[in-house]
Amino acid sequence: MNIFSGIIHFTKYYFFSVVCLLYMFNPKNYNPASRQVLVQQIFYTAIEILPVFLLSAIVFGVIIMGLIVSLSIEYNMQQYIGYLIIKLIIVELVPFLLALIISFRTGLRVSAKTSIMKVNNELNTLEIFGIDTVKYLFMPRALGNMLGFLSLAFLFSLIMMISGYVFLFLIMGMNLDIFLSTLVKAISLKDILIFVFKSLLFGFIIVTIPSYDGLMTKKRYFEIPFSLSKTISSLFIIICFIEVLSLIIEFI
């Protein structure tokens, strides 16, 4: 019975996300109302979080890059530092860590907002006034989060690289030119594509899964916490699944 309802939910979510995705490519779907939601979502995902994000990115950067640099020196693998930074840190770790952070922040917020709107009959109001909820709410939120996520992922990567350089400069006295050429040698088009695609995908699911869970909430206030816990567990599973998939693609 659980597997059966799981399949039904997955199918419904699949169609919901496809509709959201298709709406993004039609310029007619962008009216002043939906553009406001889009801008608000970009602000919420990528700008409002900046002070806390920068601080945690620097802390993460220092710890992780410190470990990578010291381990590679200890095991005499200095020549692989560029590959470790690009393939391990930038392509794999940065989007994954960011996805977890943004899930807890944006994912839970979107789920709570949607559930509350459902319970309060606000989604019903929108429908009665002829406002398509996907066009006005869910599509701009998803797109805003995708763009916000991608920008943060670039910023996080940059901080990681700067931290890596600082460590290499302090420990090995490596100059900037050598560091940059090491990175350029290590990076490939496939890495860039995986990084961009994965970031956009994480940004998309972090909004669409909570939105779908919110829509499925029954019209009772005590259902909202259940919806939130369902959202967070679904997001965690899907994020891990995408990460494993990306690792497989990376090594093919």
């Binding site: 009216n31 002043p32 109302a33 939906s34 406001q36 907002k113 509350i116 709107m117 309060n120 009959n121 606000e122 019903n124 109001t125 929108l126 009665i128 006034f129 002829g130 406002i131 006005y136």
Partner: protein, 160 residues
């Protein structure tokens, strides 16, 4: 469809239905903008944003233009001080009025207020809507079920 009614003026009238099913069937058959308990204001948006959302979505007016229209409407209705307030910060009567203005800016020629007496505390509060009907050029119908049957199980100040 059976109902009893009262004509208040050339723009506003009341229809009283025997039961909720008949009322719902009647509403479904009408092309109208609805004001009711089941169409609340969006809690995350301010009063102005709630009204201008309709203009921005359907008429594709930019934010500046829609805000200007909304501001004028609020001013005409004497509600301009509510402009930046959120729905939970305003009283029941004002919420009903803002819902009315939101229905007014939609494209339908008629506004239907469903069970208004369950949305306000004092029956006199509906007078303001009747006054507004003279300012705004749209037909208004107030629909409800037989008042006694509907309110007898509720703690309603109107019955008291």
């Amino acid at each position: 469809m059976f109902y009893r009614g009262v004509i208040i003026n050339n723009r506003i009238y009341i229809k009283i239905f025997e039961d909720i099913d008949t009322l719902n069937k009647y509403i479904e058959s009408e092309k109208t903008s609805i004001v009711s308990e089941n169409t609340p204001l969006l809690s995350e948006l301010t009063v102005t944003q709630n009204i201008s959302l309709i203009l921005e979505y359907h008429n594709r007016f930019n934010i500046k233009k829609s805000k200007k229209i909304t501001s004028n409407l609020l001013q005409k209705s004497g509600l301009e001080e509510l402009r930046d307030k959120l729905p939970f910060e305003i009283g029941k009567k004002d919420r009903l009025l803002i819902q009315f203005l939101r229905a007014y800016v939609s494209s339908c020629e008629m506004i239907t207020i469903i069970k208004p007496f369950s949305m306000i505390d004092k029956i006199e509060d509906i007078d303001y809507i009747i006054k507004l009907s003279n300012i705004f050029n749209k037909r208004i119908q107030i629909v409800d079920t037989t008042l006694h049957n509907y309110y007898k199980e509720n703690k309603c100040l109107i019955i008291k």
